[in-house]
């Protein structure tokens, strides 16, 4: 197990370095930069170019960049929040993003499981057929379309929810109430994915031989489902959920903008538009890192949930 984790971490580190380089070069190869504004005085432009090594060839800039990151210097925002360190911008904005994503995850898992389980238990009933169609619908509709639709119907037409996120800093009812729509928009797709997966897994588990044996033991239906079928059906759930969470993080980028959430993604999008490259890189790398760690966690989760993988190879016979 330890060896496996080490292997995965090394592989992830390589992937991280490649992605870091790729994003850096793509970003800095884009035409124009922060000082291409013609109204800036020639002397000022020179000074800025000098300070940020903008006149050097790209590989040299990359070397400077890496050196700074090694020293935990993540640069300074020049345009979106002039003069503020990237790390401070990040610290200030991450709170609400994490809050939103965490709520969405906490909402997704139980609701998705509920639908998956009930659909499997009532397989081929009217309920299952309707729910399955909805599942396909929610999986296919992209999050931002869902967000816009929710905003239009529930917030604008019906007025049940505020259109954008409440500006309160503390988490109180007003704030939570305004967070409901973004949470919905973030969760519906993942709920549908979990429901679909669990329905398929549980339906298969219910018809398995070990369920027949459990029945022959004299266990009640509830005991059989909870103790035997669900246990098996949930084996692939852990990893799927972690992968879904990566998806939620990325769709949160768009959805934060729709609902005016002052989170990381808002800064990210404005930094890209303003060519505030240091800020863009800092936030992007954070997302890359989270994504890589999540995928390692997803792979390890198999081993935690499934004894056959946990003890793979250790056969005593």
């Amino acid at each position: 197990m330890g060896k496996y984790v080490a292997q995965r971490l090394i592989a992830a580190a390589f992937a991280f370095i490649i992605i870091v380089a790729l994003i850096f070069f793509v970003l800095f190869s884009m035409p124009g930069n922060i000082v291409s504004d013609p109204t800036i005085k020639e002397t000022v432009r020179k000074a800025i170019e000098e300070k940020y090594h903008l006149n050097e060839p790209l590989p040299v800039q990359f070397a400077y960049f890496i050196r700074n990151y090694m020293n935990l210097d993540f640069g300074t925002s020049l345009f979106v929040r002039p003069g503020v360190a990237v790390f401070d911008v990040f610290k200030e904005r991450i709170g609400v993003t994490i809050q939103l994503n965490l709520f969405s995850a906490l909402f997704t898992l139980p609701v998705g499981m509920f639908f998956g389980i009930t659909m499997a238990l009532k397989k081929d009933s009217i309920y299952d057929i309707i729910a399955s169609s909805l599942v396909v619908f929610f999986i296919s509709v992209p999050g931002f379309v869902m967000a816009a639709a929710l905003q239009y119907f529930l917030a604008y037409k019906l007025g049940w929810f505020p259109i954008v996120l409440a500006p309160e800093v503390k988490l109180n009812w007003t704030k939570f109430h305004s967070m409901i729509l973004p949470i919905f928009a973030l969760s519906f797709g993942s709920i549908a994915s979990i429901a679909r997966l669990l329905r398929a897994e549980l339906a298969e588990a219910l018809t398995s031989e070990y369920m027949l044996l459990a029945k022959a033991k004299g266990l009640t239906f509830r005991q059989r489902v909870v103790r035997h079928a669900l246990r098996n059906a949930c084996v692939p759930l852990a990893s799927t959920f972690l992968y879904l969470f990566i998806g939620v993080l990325s769709s949160s980028l768009v959805i934060e903008n729709i609902f005016g959430v002052p989170g990381l993604s808002k800064v990210l999008v404005s930094s890209i538009n303003a060519k505030d490259h240091q800020l863009t890189l800092g936030i992007t790398y954070f997302y890359v890192l989270i994504g890589l760690l999540m995928s390692i966690a997803a792979d390890l989760s198999y081993g935690i949930v499934d004894p056959r993988i946990r003890m793979g190879g250790r056969k005593d016979e």
Partner: protein, 352 residues
Amino acid sequence: MRTISTEKILEVRDLTISFNTYAGKLQAVRGVSFDLHKGETLAIVGESGSGKSVTNKALMGILPRTARIEKGQAFYKGRDLLSMTEKEWEKVRGSEIAMIFQDPLSSLNPVTRVGKQIAEIFILKHKLPRKEAKRRAIELMDAVGIPDPEKRYNQYPFQFSGGMRQRIVIAIALASDPEILICDEPTTALDVTIQAQILKIIDRLQKEKQLSVIFITHDLGVVAHMADRVAVMYAGKIVEYGTAEDIFYNPQHPYTWGLLSSMPDMETEEGEELYVIQGSPPNMLYPPKGDAFAERNPYALNIDFKEEPPMFKVSDTHYAATWLLHPKAPKIERPAALQRRIEKSLKRAKGV
């Protein structure tokens, strides 16, 4: 052979089961009747699709949803099992009637510790405390011949070989001290050396616990070892029914002849061709008129194609459903090769 008690523990009468399929109604079991005596082993023999497994699933109340019991009764301790509700079944399953399944590789829950799968019966059904349940489970594992049961208790099924897993399945079946044990081809998935061990365990436990056993198999060799009485099934019906001696030394039904002739034994000589029953079983969506075996029966009479034969009584213990036993039927001798075999094995049985 043991002396068979005449006390009936299970009486199955006219059991008829069909499956609703897209193609129509499949008549899997067509009026099966038999008795199970206390402490005996009844073997139900037949080829795949003859309805032997379905019959016994009905006796466990574990028929699939598509199956329907059309008619019939199964009396156990004065109760008709077939009319019981699911709630009543939960008290009978495991505790009164238990079952050993065909494939031990897939019948254990792959992600639960083996010991827990036994112990949960004591915890959930008998409301024993955890410690006591564990002790009883380890005792059972020891009884079915699992070495080092304390260590094995905490292992998962994938750490067990096929034979060891089947022992666990047997331990599970015996956990609640059932009266009747149904063995649904318990050795089919195992290799031959392990088969013998498993059969020995079943045989020993049956004697220790005075179990009444229904043994489903298509392996006549196993039947010869295990059974007190034999029921031969074909196309959803019992075609011959008698003590093991009746079936092996005095078979009456042409299908039984076919089965016995197609079984190799120690005397089978090199180059000697084994008998093959020609054709294949009828499509039970449209059971044939008359005797279902008539198409494949080289001794079929005209009437076999027109009318189903009733059960003819051969002796007090022996019945067969073939028109050949009708008083007006032409006298047909058993195939010569089979007759020779029977005489040889009779001689052997007496000589030793």
